[in-house]
């Protein structure tokens, strides 16, 4: 099972900050994951936005990046504090 994290407006869209999923066969990089998840949850392309970055095991990656069923995968809309 992979652990997914959703932040900012993605948390609202998914209705949760975190969940675990079993990655289906063939979903083995971040691009495939975005497309599959966006379609499955009927997000209308929200997860395909280029400003949303992905962090795997706490590190932002250059996409597409390979993923495994044991990964911690976070979807990060544009960040900013202050």
């Amino acid at each position: 099972m992979a652990r997914l994290h959703f932040f900012g407006r993605l948390m609202d869209a998914f209705g949760t900050n975190t969940e675990t999923v079993a990655l289906p066969a063939g979903i083995n990089d971040t691009s495939a994951l975005r497309a599959w998840l966006d379609n499955e949850r009927q997000l209308g392309g929200l997860l395909l936005e280029k400003t949303i970055r992905v962090a795997i095991n706490d590190t932002i990656v250059s996409e597409p990046w390979p993923i495994a069923d044991s990964d911690d995968i976070a979807f990060l809309p544009p960040v900013g504090g202050g």
């Binding site: 900012g8 407006r9 706490d58 976070a74 809309p77 544009p78 960040v79 900013g80 202050g82």
Partner: protein, 148 residues
Amino acid sequence: MIKLTESPFDAAEALRDFEKSAMGAGAIVSFTGLVRDTSKLGKVKTLHLQAYTPMTERGITKAASDANKRWPLDALLVIHRIGDLAPGEPIVFVATASAHRRAAFEAADFLMDYLKTEAVFWKKETTDSGAHWVEPRPEDYEDRDRWS
């Protein structure tokens, strides 16, 4: 020093402690960011700050280290709130100490640009007309790009 906190903090006390820790520095610059009471969308009720630990802390620590490499600083402090904030409460406090006043000014300015555009936080503002997530404005990115 870097500190994320769920509890309200007092910027004046933070400056007092920082001044002690920076004895002999000569120049101290501080920045305090406060939750505004009104936004474009109405009267602000709360501002929610979400972080992603430990990525958030690691990023700020790296920015502080970059500031220390770039300017001759004697001390540096970043306090950032997370959780639910009320209007008027400090969100962020940055302080820098140096023998050189422009180093202290520039380092604080640099750190604030980092915090506004790169620090791993998400902000949700709740006003009397609803709630929305606030992302950086184009000018925040322009400000940040001054340092690259």
